[in-house]
Amino acid sequence: MNRHRTSRREFLRLAAVGASGALVAGRSIAQPATGGGRPLVVVQTAWPQSLDPTMDTNVNAGNIYAHMLESPAQYRYDAREKVMKLEPRLCDKWETRAPDRWRFHLRPGLKFTNGEEINAEVARFSMDTLKGNKGMASSYMNHVKEVVVVDPLTFDLVTDGPYAATPASTAFFFFFPPKYYAESGGKTGFGRKPIGSGPYKFVEWQDGVHIKLEANPAYWGAKPQIQAITFRAQPESATRVALLDTGEADLITALPPELIDRAKRTADIRTARGFRRVFCFFNANVAPTDNPLVRKAINHAVDVDAIVKNILGGHAYAAKGINKPGYIGYAPDKITGYKYDPELAKKLLTQAGYPNGIDLDYNHPVGRWLNDKDVAAAIVDMAGKAGIRFKDKGVEFNTASSLYSTQKATGMNMWSVGPLWLDPSFEWQVHFWSKGLYHYTNNAKMDELLDRLRTEVDPAKRIPIAQEFEKYVVDEYCPWLFLYDEEHIYGANKKLQWTPSPFERMDLQYATMAG
């Protein structure tokens, strides 16, 4: 009996020692970030589903595979001129051979990190893979009918009718090593262990723990200064900021404005005006929103500047039109837009036949964009003062997405449109084209202008078309409640020299770590 009790006590003592030992070991986790040697730790909001660009198009995946995979051309942010430029990447030049045929010239001597050559056959293979995988990106290259191999370093993209944005669209046309792609097991194998030709190469992916990349010593372009990057994910924004605070993270994404002051205590804030535009679309086929006066009234009833200033802390850019800075034909001075004027709103409603105001559903996803709940609440409040009584229907993002794609959503619907290639035709065709997924308008003039914009290849001729389209859509037809562009807010280690790109590509190969 005695012996039994003693050994139990001894065991407990050992356990206590062991536990405190674990605590002590835990003390030394957060080493301060130094340069070179220690990997750069980037913490995003979620894990990628796959590192295969044909399967996962989410920014959390793109930020990782864009460091390893390359495409004929790629966007790069020129911080000095403050503009996005489409730069040659794998292809050093391209030209039009016919309205529906673009010729691309590959740089000679490029190889993937496993030694496979990059040639025109690879281009064809990659296009077939993109279309054949039936993933999220399967419709990205819908405008390309086929890839024609001209010679080992030249290929043609033949489009289905003229498509002006073809070179821009190649920013999403990533090249895969054909032999390796097949050997690794196709999209599922490649998606866990990609091989590319970019400035970084894949090291390992420990599920739920980290994804590690290291610099590619054989890279054909400028070698990156940062030798190793570790990607992690943290869904809760407060925790992401805590990670930045303790030094466990060097760069975090999606920093909410209310935590900016907190983050500034130990780190830097880096921002970029994004291309993601938040707006609300109306169903122009159903009363009362089938009357343009009603739609205009709603625009006059909401003070977008106040929302941007107070609810988003100034971290957004009021956008009165449908074109974006850096896109072809961007000319905000040529459109009038809608000023905040609740009295005018009431007048327009009376003119439209609703002297007592109107009742509308307001569908909006919750938790998708920065402070979207609060923005929606503010909109409801402001509009209410002008006689527009919204029924606030906040839903989960995909419930909204599902509803919108039926083209039967009524009332006012909050949505956003983000860029693929930086050409207005892509975003406009989603909403205003009769074959678009969220087609809620009904206007022959818009269809006609859009068709011309898509097919006119000469940039000089496209500009007036784009401007005419925007003027008509915004000032006359008014299918949306125009809101704002999001700002991307990152938290960064003070020693990290890096500017964020509006295009939401991290491009850490251009970053350096001081000290």
Binding site: E258, N310, K373
Partner: protein, 298 residues
């Protein structure tokens, strides 16, 4: 010393130091009662008590701290939230929905669960098996999926939240009632009644149910904490009480980033409200259970 007077002292001694509880414990019960009365009052006449309408936004006056701090405003005793809405008014209005939703879910799940558990425990056999399998099946389904599915079909509404919460909670009562019934059923006095030919439902209602009651009340008071917190969790996931209805859970989930820095009052006061409500309910439930203790009736 007569036998009668010795008896209570002996009983007290043998059943442990129980009597002391009533004297000092009474104080806590009184406080709990008063607190709950205030909360119920808030739930009944929020418009009279609250200084401002709970959804009135003034986005130029956002994130004002409580009035006793610098930058505070005496018009807003507990400060304002990120849309300039008065916090005190929102906390007062939140009482109604939190109590209604909490109690409705509790009562519904309690009644369903106890009934099912009684049936399962008393009749045993295939009925018991099927019922317990139903419980297993339901528990295996993630409540988030259930919530999303319900909302996708019926549309977002506060009723759905009650439904989800109720459906989530009945199993505890069923398991408990079943377990207790299984034990009690085999007791001699129940066997005796059955042998005497007493009808089943009488046995259940008159003899098994009262024995269950105090356990059920304790579990129920424990569950209420869980239900109110679960409502908050649903709000965290965007599936809870929808605006413009004000709920504490929503306020808590919405303002949680402020916990780490900045406008701490946005989360603290609704949090305190939740804690106070749950604490007082639990204290009162404990007291009620002592009152109902069959031991005292002997």
């Amino acid at each position: 010393m007569s036998a009668e007077s010795v008896q209570p002292a002996l009983v007290r001694e043998l059943t442990g130091r129980r009597s002391s509880r009533f004297r000092s414990g009474d104080f806590l019960v009184v406080i709990a009662f008063l607190l709950l009365a205030v909360i119920v009052l808030c739930a009944l006449i929020p418009a009279t008590l609250a200084p401002h309408p709970p959804n009135q936004q003034e986005i130029t006056k956002r994130l004002l701290p409580p009035s006793w701090m610098e930058r505070g405003n005496s018009a807003h005793l507990l400060g304002t939230d990120q849309l300039g809405r008065d916090l005190l008014s929102r906390v007062i209005h939140g009482a109604r929905i939190s109590l209604i939703v909490g109690f409705s879910a509790l009562v519904i799940s309690g009644i369903i669960g106890v009934t099912i558990g009684l049936l399962a425990g008393y009749y045993r056999g295939w009925l018991d098996d099927w019922i317990m399998r139903l419980a297993d099946v339901q528990l295996a389904i993630p409540y988030v999926l259930l919530a999303i599915a319900i909302i996708a079909v019926i549309g977002p509404s506060n009723l759905n939240v009650v439904l989800v919460l109720a459906v989530n909670g009945w199993v505890v009562y069923a398991r408990l009632a079943r377990g207790q019934t299984l034990s009690l059923r085999e007791r001699e006095f129940i066997q005796a009644y059955r042998a005497l030919g007493a009808r089943d439902w009488r046995i259940v209602v008159q003899h098994i149910l009262p024995n269950l009651l105090s356990a059920v009340i304790v579990v129920a008071s424990l569950e209420l904490a869980g239900i109110i917190t679960l409502e908050s969790s649903l709000s965290f996931l965007g599936l809870g009480i929808q605006p413009p209805t004000v709920s504490w859970g929503y306020m808590l989930a919405d303002g949680r980033t402020y916990l780490l820095g900045g406008a701490w009052w946005v989360v603290t006061f609704p949090g305190l409200a939740i804690t106070a409500t749950i604490l007082s309910i639990n204290v009162l439930a404990d007291w009620l259970r002592d009152v109902l203790d069959p031991r005292l009736k002997i």
